[in-house]
Structures are given as C-alpha cells and as structure tokens.
Amino acid sequence: MKIAVCIKQVPTREWQPRINEAGTWIREQDASYELNEPDAYALEEALRLREKHSGEVVVCAAGPARVQQVIREALARGADRAIHVEGDALGSADASITSAALASAMTDERFDLVLTGLQSDDQGHAQVGVMLAERLQMPHSTIIMEVQVVDPSTGSGQAATLRVKRELEGGWFQWIGMPLPALLTIQSGINQLRYATLKGIMAAKKKEIRKVPLPGGLAASQQIMELALPTRSKQTEMITGAPAAAAKELVRRLREEARAL
C-alpha cells in the first residue's frame, strides 16, 4: 500500500507568542518549531499500516525551507521518502492554498491512502485534510481513532476497502466504510508514538526529499487583518506571593468570596 502522510511544522508549545510589526502574523524568526502533534499520530498510524500491509510511506509537506527539520524527523522515525512543496508564502498560507499546493505535488503519485492530522496547532483551520481529499477526488472521513484495511479474499477480484472508527462528540463513535484510495484525518491519541532511533536518524540522511516549487496563481480565501493577544472575557483576580501565602489567599477567597468550598 502506498501511503502519504501530510505533516506541518508549527511553533513549539513552549513558544511565547511574538507578533510582527504589521500586527498580521507572528515573528517567524523568533519561533522555534516542531512537528504538529496530530500529524505525529498520523505518521505513526501510517508506519503501523506499512508494517501490517507492506508498501511505502511518503511524507508530504508544504512550507518554507525551515520545514526540512520536521521532514527529516519523520524520515528518521521511519518514513521512506518525502515530497516538499517549497515556498516562503506557505508559512502563513490559509488552508485553501496549502491544500492546493499539496495536491499539485501529490496527484501524480496516485496514493492508496492519505493521512493527515485532524488540525494544526498554529492556524488550526481543520480544513486542509478534507480540502485535499476533494482536490485528489478521494472519499474521506475525519477525526479517526482506528483504521482497518479490509483485504478481500484472494481471487475474489475485489479491491481492499477501509473501515474506520470516527470520533463524534461527547464520547460517541461511529464506524465508516469506504473504498480506497481515501483520505483520513487522524485524531491525537489513536496510537502510541515511537521516537527516532539513532539508526533511524542516520538512515534519514540518505532518504530522498523531492522538492516541488509552489505552483503560481493560488488565491487566498481569507486574510488576517490583525493578530493580537486575546482579550479576557472575565476579570481574572491574579493571586501573587510565595506558594504558602498564595494558597492561603486562594482558599480564603474561594470560601468567602466565591463560596465554592
């Protein structure tokens, strides 16, 4: 099975937000980056499916040159090769552009299965996966917690299909069946992540990263007018002081003001 995993590089969780002078995007030069967490689960799921059904795992990313960092990491974890749609504008692109950029490089590969994380930890549109499915003309399902490839009995002449467990809200789930090729967006927690071994890191250096230029003529579907620290919806009483004093004050307030204890 030929499996693609789309990954994104996002600022780390510890990153303290800094906004550019125009107030429309972050100061990219100040950020440190890591692999988008839901994408790490998608990659792990792809590696497990390859172990079970054999085949190839190809990492696909759209972003500026810095994205090589997470591509190398994915190759070190076990992906076979990578495709990098490279363009500076992709660092802050919306989902419509990102999905079109990925589709331009992925169509001819004719993947059997495409996995993405359910959303990114930066812009968080939760759109790229589904838009990519539509652009690749594949059926899709989202927020997936289990993937089964249903192999037909040998000689039946039928193709393999998918049966996937989709998460609904409030603790509900649903099984969905669909033909291959297909695209799935993967929920965090679907599996236990593996980390790169030294051997994997060494092997990754020799693996192919095919660079593809960003196609021209892609129009944005939205524009960020202003990026700012969020305004507080509540007046938060901040309690300061050493731990013992702060604890005493908090307990007093919870008893006397809030009457919550």
Partner: protein, 320 residues
C-alpha cells in the same frame, strides 16, 4: 441573505444551531436569515426554528437520513445554488468539520472556521477566531467572489439571545442525490463503554493538563481533589497518554461540565478544552505560563509551579 445550516440527529436539534442563528442575526443587520434543515424526516426540527428565522428550508431526502460528507456536500451545494446566500453559517461541530471544507472547494467559497466573534455586519464584516492554540486571536476577512462560509464555535454566542418573531413559513426544497455517488457507508453511532463517571454531576472538579508532566504526579492532583471533595478530571492529552481513563476527559471530545468550582492545574486552555468547562461558576487556573489562554476564562489565577502551589493548597485546606 444569510443561510444557517442547522444540525439535527434523529429529529433532535443540536443546540449549537441556535447559537449559530444568534451569530447570523448579529452578522445580518437588517438582512434576512434563513435556516436549512437537512434530513430524512426533519419537519419537527424545521418547525422549532420557524420563529427564529425568516424562512425555513426543509431539505428532505432519503440520502440525508444518516449523515455522510458526500451526501451533505451535494445537498448544501444545491441549496446554495438555489438561494444564493452571501454567507453560509454552520455550528463548528465535528459533523460540520467533516463536510464544510468539501463544500468550500466545490462551490469556490471561502471558509472561516472556529469563529468566536463578529465585527460589523454584511459583506464588510470581519471574524474573530483563535489561533496558535488560543495563545493569539486573529481578525480575519474572507477573500474572493464566492459565498462565504463561516463556522461558529460552541458557546461563543448565546442561544437565548436569538430574536424570535412570528412563525416563518417552512418550505420544502428538493435536492437530487444519486445514492451511488455516496462513497462512505456509515454505521450507527455507539458509546464505547458505559460511562463510569458522570462528571456533569460533580460539584467540584480538579482537572490536570500537560503541566502535570508524568503519571506518578497525578497523585498530587488527586490529593487536592480529596481535600476539596472534588472529582479528578483531565484534558485530552492526559487521557491519550493513558494517565487517567477516557471517561475523565473534559472537552469537546469528552464531557461538558458546569460545576460550582473548577480548578485547572497545568492546563493551557486550548479551545477544545474550554468548550467543555467554561460554564463552571468559579474557575481557578494554576499555570506556570502567564500567557496561557486558560487565564482568559479564570476567575482566580496563580502563575507559578503547580508542584509548589498544590501541596501548599492541600495543607491550607487541611488546617481547618
């Protein structure tokens, strides 16, 4: 005209639809707001919405009885072609997330998701949405000529703020869906195991997030829960790691709670968590990051190391 795509399952309206109508009324100014109800037999839901909008479009088709993204996309595509809305508003549910991006590509629409605020009315409006896990807030303007799709975050607008009037007409709108073009086969929804804990009944909740760092440290939070007569709960990553069972999870994929007291320990406050707990009467946040979004909804906040503060709280509570 603004079109709201209602969400219902088996004849029960998803309450987030009313919140979306409230958002649509704010965005509309004087322009009309219509609602489309999609399903197999959804007439009762359509009647429910009739006093909140100027027209209800009842879109019934056997292919819409069980939700699939393929069938819903074809249906919404045809509704948009028939009524030509300036905006299409949808509640930001898992179901919307599953098909709205497909609609946007099909009809050449812009799509702004997870909206928590609207500035202005009509075609010059801008939309506020969280970015970077809620650390930043973006004001966004749709681009392009096509219709503008917007999804409204749960809890961002109030269902009881919906302006109601006399009952509007409920008009059927026929859509054609070729069943052979629906690629997904959906089975009936189910619950994993019976929920052992109903956190919705808890008076007080102590919830832990990534800041707790390891499974062994959960005991520190459990001690505080004991001292407060509270239930222990967690954000999603803690349950993903198996440090607490899934039925202790608060947030969009877990339980929604509104206790008297909610103490968030080392929880940054991503929107998926906030939607599950921001209805709590009193919220306490303890986090080492002063910029953590959890402080936006907290009544009381302490910036500091939870491993110092929580034991101090326990000994303070045990004093009296």
């Amino acid at each position: 005209m603004i079109l709201v795509v209602a969400e219902q399952r088996d004849g029960t309206l998803n309450r987030a639809t009313l919140e979306t109508i409230a958002a649509a009324q704010k965005l509309a100014g004087d322009a009309p707001v219509k609602a489309a109800v999609l399903g197999q037999s959804a007439g009762a839901v359509a009647q429910d919405l009739a006093t909140a909008v100027s027209e209800v479009l009842l879109v019934e088709n056997p292919a819409l009885g069980t939700y699939t993204p393929d069938a819903f996309t074809v249906a919404v595509q045809q509704i948009v072609a028939a009524v030509k809305p300036v905006y299409v508003l949808l509640p930001h549910t898992y179901q919307t997330r599953d098909f709205a991006p497909m609609v946007a590509v099909r009809v050449g629409a812009s799509l702004i998701t997870d909206v928590v605020g609207i500035n202005g009315t009509g075609s010059s409006a801008t939309f506020v949405r969280p970015m970077f896990q809620g650390k930043l807030s973006a004001e966004v303007r749709p681009q392009g000529e096509g219709p503008r799709c917007v999804t409204i975050q749960i809890g961002a607008f109030r269902a009881d703020a919906v302006k109601r009037g006399t009952a509007a007409p409920v008009n059927p709108l026929a859509v054609e869906i070729d069943p052979s073009t629906i690629r997904q086969k959906a089975e009936a929804p189910f619950k994993e195991a019976k929920q052992a804990v109903d956190l919705g009944q808890a008076e007080r909740i102590v919830a832990v997030g990534r800041g707790i760092k390891s499974q062994e440290n959960i005991a520190i939070a459990e001690k505080l829960a004991g001292a407060m007569s509270a239930e222990i709960a967690a954000s999603r990553p803690i349950c993903d790691n198996g440090w607490l069972p899934m039925d202790r999870q608060i947030g969009s994929s877990g339980q929604t709670v509104a206790p008297k007291l909610y103490v968030a320990l080392g929880i940054s406050g991503a929107i998926q968590h906030l939607v599950g707990m921001k209805g709590a009467r009193t919220i306490v946040a303890i986090n080492k990051d002063a910029d953590a979004p959890i402080f936006e909804v907290a009544d009381y906040g302490i910036v500091g190391d939870l491993f110092d503060i929580v034991p101090a709280l326990v000994s303070e509570l045990e004093k009296s």
